[in-house]
């Protein structure tokens, strides 16, 4: 048998060859197996963590060295170190004594252990006998007596042992104290030293953990093996760092999974401010006060990273986390560096950095302006101003007033020719109009399309003028003075909402510049409409359009005539003279037929068209075209009161799948951002290369947005997402927040911040005030910040605490004079309903923490000593230099005039008045109101002799004196409306500006 196996005769294959084959394949298998482990073990994030560790070591070493230098230069430290050394020397000298004492302590301790043992044995015996004795006693056994004796003797024994033990303990205590005494000085000094070296110690121990050079031997070994394959399950140094946020979920379509963000696996320095200047991925977050840190409103444990930045939080390498480049250059760089390509299998890729503010909107969608998110705010404002919501339903802008003016009475305002030219190319009349361009765009600028669209415009104009209703215009009763009109426009406050800018200003669009574009740029008014129309409009805007946001400035006939003649003098040359293609019935017929065919058969359509007169065709097409282009989205047009917007809903546009966007034949990156950007830049571009009938073409008009504007709008659009946000993450929906949101929205809609300033925002009109001041008082006055402020519309900070709500409500409905020298006029907003005024008042109140709607009015007695004291204080403080007391004019020139104090009682809240008197600058920085002088630093005798006994009674309580002053203010009565007096005064004496550079009375 054995021979047979050895010989290969019985074998089909040569066994030794098979052996070699087997050996080779086994070795290959082993190599492959090792490859498997190494492939599994090597992760890009581990390399990064290694780098980070190195960086951390370097940084810590540098800081440690710095700390050490500081320490070595610190005199205090040197002194302690010297003393410590001395103490050690001292200790050394006594070493013999110390040794003896320590030996004694040692033997004492040994003795104690022995004594304790004896005691424990005795105690055990005692407990046992105690039990036996108790049993015998209870059952009346015979051996009670003997047990009793035994029990008692053991009890005594135990007591003796206890005494011995306590004695021993006492001795140890004494000896320990003795031993410690030797070292006490050293210990105290060491503690002192430790306090100084705390920082270095922390850094040192940190280094011991991370830097092998500083590690103990055993730690070095552990450091070497803890990250080896297999062993790294125990306690690896390099591991995936993650936060799991249970209440934030990622939608994986059929279910939701908790958000798991592993970003900090590579972004190791993200939470450490010391890495603020390092390169990615180790750079610290640039705004740790607002994000990530535990003290910020968005701590990482609660919000994670991808809830704002997007991307795949569970990914642990550059590509699988779906990083997105901010620019083509970056894209190229990434492709080279990280083999980056967009992972298409994740619906919410990371937001490119320029759009990151979009995510704020997820939770802060109810706010009118999201703090710190300037780009998002600008985008949201641009969407509102451009009227995107007129064609695209967006929940955020529900019930917003239409973006454009009403066209219900358009025939009274302009000529058909003007309207034609305007619709055809609005920008050629007014460079910064918000009316977009519908015609002569990339998909309708060929000759055929132009022939057609020319006729379309004719039809639209025809419809608008035909359906325009009657407007009872007043004719100007007095001849206007254009020069005075110009002055009025610049001083009354028109320029808070309007501009008169004949040429582009080339400024970056911001919320601030948008405020000045609330109303149209007034250039070319004279070419657009008639003098009478402007006059009538100014006198009563609501009469022309009940929905207009243009307020009534309560102009006198003369003022209105002046302004009207000034505005009419602003003309645009060449616009009205543009030639207009004549109406072409043939083309019109084509358009008619196309519309008719949508509802009828070809034959019926032709019959119907044949039955139409020329006029009817214009009518019919006009109506259809307005419907098609969606003009009613921005304008009130008769016959289109209940039409639905024509565009795609954008409420959740940011969640729209890229696959649902039609990129046509345009080769841009397939992302939402790229598509939105392209669409806004050139709205009709996706028609390029397509064969389309005229009524199939894209309709979105061109707003000529700048690149910055587009980025802002795209940021907002991307923010319109459908994510379900748990209540814990959104700003609390409490009464205050709701009131502030509602108020801010109205303040935005009516552009209050065009004139007023709230929380440092707004006051767009101020440069105009400066210009006006310069015009009437010279350049030096125009540089005086407090003077400008005194002529500017009021700052409304603390308004809720300042005024009584009933007064405010009345004032808002019927504004009256407060600061007598103010030219800027608070207009009357007839369009704002009581409900909205209430919202605005509530906004001011809750913003300042005023929760009460009704309050007990401040009571005073004119015979009280406090009132009398107040009288003295006001007299000596010379309040009447600036303030009206009823109809009594202030002593100084109109330049410094301040509100009528007889308004105080009904207007102001007593608590606020006290704050105000205490320190006006704290409430309105830059106000001209000085802090009233109260005599508290003087001797009481002097006060009594100079100020009288009522004041002296209050001495030295300044608070009481201010209260007295307030009581006096509450007692001031008399005429409240001093406008007639003021007017007369200004006419005769003017403001009393000191044009020369003289010292101010103040």
């Amino acid at each position: 048998m054995a021979e047979k196996i050895e010989s290969n005769q019985e074998r089909l294959y040569d066994i030794s060859k098979l052996n070699i084959l087997f050996a080779v394949s086994s070795i290959i298998f082993l190599i492959v197996l090792i490859w498997t482990f190494s492939a599994d073990h090597s992760r890009s994030w581990k390399d990064l963590q290694l780098q980070f560790r190195q960086l951390q070591i370097e940084k810590t070493n540098v800081r440690l060295a710095e700390e050490k230098t500081t320490l070595s230069e610190l005199g205090e430290y040197k002194e302690i170190a010297d003393r410590l050394e001395k103490a050690h020397e001292e200790f050394q000298k006594k070493s013999d004594e110390v040794v003896i004492a320590e030996d004694t302590l040692f033997s004492l301790k040994a003795r104690l252990s022995k004594v304790e043992q004896t005691y424990n044995f005795a105690k055990a015996d005692f407990d046992a006998v105690k039990y036996e004795y108790e049993v015998a006693q209870a059952h009346d056994l015979d051996n009670v007596e003997s047990l009793k004796k035994k029990f008692e003797s053991l009890q005594n024994q135990l007591y003796d042992d206890l005494l011995i033990q306590q004695q021993a303990e006492k001795e140890i205590e004494n000896q320990t104290a003795k031993v410690q005494e030797f070292r006490s000085e050293i210990k105290r000094l060491e503690n002192e030293k430790n306090e100084l070296t705390q920082q270095t110690d922390i850094l040192g121990s940190k280094l011991e953990k991370i830097d092998p050079a500083h590690m103990t031997f055993s730690n070095k070994i552990a450091n070497a093996i803890r990250d080896l394959p297999f062993l790294d399950f125990l306690s690896p140094y390099y591991k995936v760092d993650q936060v799991v946020i249970k209440d934030l979920t990622d939608n994986v379509n059929f279910t939701r999974v908790p958000k798991v963000d592993r970003c900090m696996t590579c972004h190791k320095g993200i939470l450490k401010a010391e890495f603020e200047n390092d390169e990615q991925p180790f750079k610290a977050h640039p705004n740790l006060d607002l994000f990530l840190s535990s003290k910020s409103p968005h701590p990482v444990e609660e919000f994670g990273c991808t809830s704002c930045h997007g991307g795949r939080g569970r990914g642990t390498d550059f590509v699988s986390t779906v990083h997105m480049p901010s620019s083509p250059e970056q894209e190229k760089e990434w492709e080279e560096k990280y083999h980056w390509h967009q992972l298409h299998h994740w619906d919410s890729p990371m937001l490119p950095m320029q759009y990151v503010e979009a995510s704020c909107f997820k939770c802060h969608s109810n706010e009118t302006s999201v703090k710190y998110a300037d780009k998002l705010n600008l985008g949201l404002n641009l969407i509102e101003r451009s009227g995107c919501f007129g064609c695209h339903k967006i929940d955020k802008y529900k019930d917003r007033p239409k973006a454009g003016p009403s066209l219900e009475k358009v025939a009274s305002k302009m000529t058909k020719e003007w309207a034609y030219n305007w619709i055809s190319d609005p920008k050629s009349f007014r460079h910064n109009t918000w009316m977009p361009r519908f015609f002569n765009q990339s998909n309708n600028n060929d000759e055929d399309s132009q022939n057609r669209t020319n006729q379309e415009i004719h039809a639209i104009v025809h419809y608008l003028f035909k359906n325009s209703s009657e407007y009872g215009m007043d004719s100007v009763p007095i001849k206007g003075d254009a020069k005075n009109g110009e002055l009025l426009v610049s001083s009354l406050g028109c320029l808070g909402c309007h501009q008169i800018a004949p040429d582009p200003l080339n400024q970056k669009t911001s919320i601030e510049t948008l405020r000045k574009e609330q109303g149209p740029n007034l250039v070319g008014t004279g070419s657009k409409t008639s003098l009478n129309w402007v006059y009538s409009w100014l006198k009563d805007p609501q009469k022309y359009s009940s929905s207009t946001r243009m307020p009534n400035l309560r102009l006198t006939n003369q003022e209105a005539a002046d302004i009207a003649s000034y505005l009419s003098s602003l003309t645009k040359k060449g616009f009205s003279e543009k030639s207009i293609p004549s109406v072409d019935e043939e083309v019109l017929d084509e358009i008619t037929l196309d519309f008719l065919k949508k509802m009828n058969s070809d034959e019926d359509s032709r019959i119907k068209r044949a039955e139409m007169t020329f006029e009817e065709k214009l009518d019919y097409n006009g109506e259809k075209l307005i419907r098609m282009y969606g003009c009613f989205g921005c304008h009130d047009i008769p016959g289109f009161e209940n039409n639905k917007p024509i565009g795609t809903e954008l409420t959740f546009e940011g969640s729209k799948l890229v696959e649902k966007l039609d990129f046509g034949f345009i080769e841009i990156s397939h992302s939402r951002e790229a598509w939105f950007t392209q669409k806004l830049k050139e709205p009709r571009i996706f028609d390029r290369g397509k064969v389309k009938l005229p009524d199939e073409k894209l309709l979105m008009p061109n707003f000529d947005f700048t690149d910055d504007e587009i980025t802002a709008i795209v940021t907002a659009l991307i923010g319109f997402v459908k994510d379900e946000i748990p209540e814990s993450k959104i700003p609390e929906r409490n009464e205050r927040n709701l009131a502030i949101e509602a108020g801010e929205e109205l303040i935005r809609i009516y552009n209050c911040l065009g004139c007023h300033t709230i929380d440092g925002e707004g006051g767009a009109i101020r440069p105009t005030i400066v210009a006006w001041l310069e015009g009437i008082a010279g350049a030096s006055s125009a540089e005086d910040a407090s003077l400008i402020q005194s002529f500017a519309p009021p700052i409304l900070d603390t308004e809720g605490r300042k005024v009584q709500p009933e007064w405010l409500f009345n004032f808002l409905n019927r504004p009256t004079m407060i600061r007598p020298n103010l030219q800027v006029r608070m207009p009357t907003y007839e369009v704002i309903s009581d409900k909205d005024w209430n919202k605005i008042i509530k906004y001011f109140q809750l913003k300042d923490g005023q929760t009460l709607a009704y309050e007990n009015p401040h009571q005073i007695s004119k015979s009280s000593s406090s009132y009398m004291a107040g009288d003295v204080i006001q007299d000596l403080g010379a309040c009447n230099n600036c303030h009206f007391y009823g109809s009594t004019k202030p002593k100084q020139a109109a330049l410094t005039w301040a509100p009528n104090l007889s308004l105080t009682k009904e207007r102001l809240r007593s608590e606020w008045v006290l704050d105000w008197l205490r320190d006006p600058q704290a409430i309105i920085p830059g106000t001209k109101m000085p802090t009233p002088y109260v005599p508290i630093d003087e001797q009481i005798e002097d006060v009594e002799s100079a100020w009288g006994k009522d004041v002296a009674k209050l001495h030295p309580d300044s608070e009481a004196m201010l209260k007295a002053l307030r009581d006096y203010l509450w007692g001031i009565e008399g005429q409240q409306d001093v406008s007639a007096i003021v007017k007369r005064h200004l006419e005769t004496e003017g403001y009393g500006f000191i044009v020369e550079d003289e010292e101010d009375e103040w």
């Binding site: 290959i28 994986v252 059929f254 298409h344």
Partner: protein, 371 residues
């Protein structure tokens, strides 16, 4: 270059590709003596020599190498999902060649009255260990190595979470089901998804009972089992493997046909208007309206189907399958011919769809019964 690509793209269009393959197939795998003579005359049996094998291999290799320079081709062929199919093409070609080479080789031996290559002395045996098990062990190790290397080299093609509002386009079945998916284009699911697969299994199970030819047992031979091999090869290569290849490489978005060098444009449109046989009959040929009665409406299709399955078998039995009928007997013949007719219905329906836009032969959507 572009010319070659466009020629290949044109050739890959379904009608041309399928016609070419069907026309040439039985010359390569002769069904009977007539085809066999042509096979010899055209020297098509030279495929099954070493030289022929190498040529085939080189042609395939050149094709793929050439294709890889094309972006669209590369994108599809190198997709991790599709790499196995490329492997499948080479493997199927190789094993077909290997078996046919041995069969043809044996045919020569048989003709010369020599022993076939597989012939072995009944007393000559080898030991299980080590001759069998050792080899198996080595093969096992090497296969494991291959799988590991493959799985490290080509990561598993995981995709995004399934989204009900966004189905992938094209939505493809796993590669081994792509033949079935291709059938779904031409037949209702109950046929393509239930009836045909069942019949395939039944048919494969029936082979040993239908095949009474005792020749060719235990060794490769072509000539002795010409019809059996060729018919089987037709079913396997054309009706299964080819459909998988078409489904993998030539079916793009919206399940449209794309040439191998064509860009998979999501927006490509192909006319897909199809009509039923009954509409042909009544509306086009008779120029009348459709009868309300379902049975009356569909009677033509029903008759056609019945004719296909009831008239063709006896007709064939009497004519050119006379010998076969005599050899198999009544029952075996019936089972055999029904299975063949089912298999043939697939290409027939495909052609009807491509040529005359026929949707259904029998269309009774009222009862979800369409053929």
């Amino acid at each position: 270059m572009d010319l070659i690509k466009s020629v290949i793209n044109t050739l890959a269009s379904p009608t041309i590709l399928f016609t070419l393959i069907i026309v040439t197939f039985f010359f390569i795998f002769p069904l009977n003596d007539w085809f066999y003579r042509w096979n010899k005359r055209l020297k098509l049996d030279s495929f099954w020599t070493n030289r022929g094998g190498i040529k085939m291999f080189i042609i395939l290799l050149v094709f793929f190498a050439f294709g890889l320079f094309d972006e669209n081709f590369r994108l599809i062929v190198l997709k991790p999902d599709n790499v196995p199919i490329v492997g499948l093409i080479f493997l199927v070609a190789f094993f077909t060649w290997l078996s046919m080479k041995q069969a043809v080789d044996n045919d020569v031996h048989i003709e010369n009255n020599e022993n076939v290559n597989e012939y072995s002395d009944p007393d000559d045996k080898v030991l299980t260990w080590p001759d069998l098990v050792y080899i198996e062990l080595i093969a096992l190790v090497l296969c494991t190595v291959l799988l590991i290397v493959w799985s490290i080299g080509l990561q598993a093609p995981l995709e995004e979470p399934a989204n009900p509002t966004l189905s992938p386009n094209p939505a493809k079945a796993p590669w081994y089901f792509l033949g079935l998916q291709e059938m779904l284009v031409y037949f209702d699911p109950w046929i393509a998804g239930v009836l045909f697969p069942s019949l395939m299994i039944v048919g494969l199970m029936a082979i040993p009972y239908l095949d009474t030819n005792k020749k060719g047992v235990g060794y490769y031979s072509f000539k002795q089992r010409m019809m059996a091999v060729s018919l089987y090869m037709f079913g396997w290569l054309v009706l299964w493997v080819l459909l998988i290849i078409i489904g993998t490489f030539l079916r793009g978005p919206n399940w449209n046909f794309f040439g191998p060098f064509e860009y998979w444009d999501l927006h490509k449109l192909q006319p897909l208007t199809n009509i039923n046989l009954s509409e042909y009959v009544y509306i086009i040929w008779f120029s009348t309206g459709m009868p309300d009665n379902i049975l009356l409406r569909e009677i033509w299709g029903i008759l056609l189907i019945l004719g296909y399955f009831l008239i063709l078998p006896p007709l064939f039995a009497k004519t050119w399958l006379k010998n076969l009928y005599n050899r198999l007997g009544n029952f075996r013949y019936s089972v055999f011919i029904i299975l063949i007719l089912f298999a043939l219905s697939m290409p027939i329906k495909m052609y009807l769809r491509w040529m005359v836009n026929l949707k259904y032969i029998v269309a009774i959507p009222e009862y979800f019964f369409n053929i």
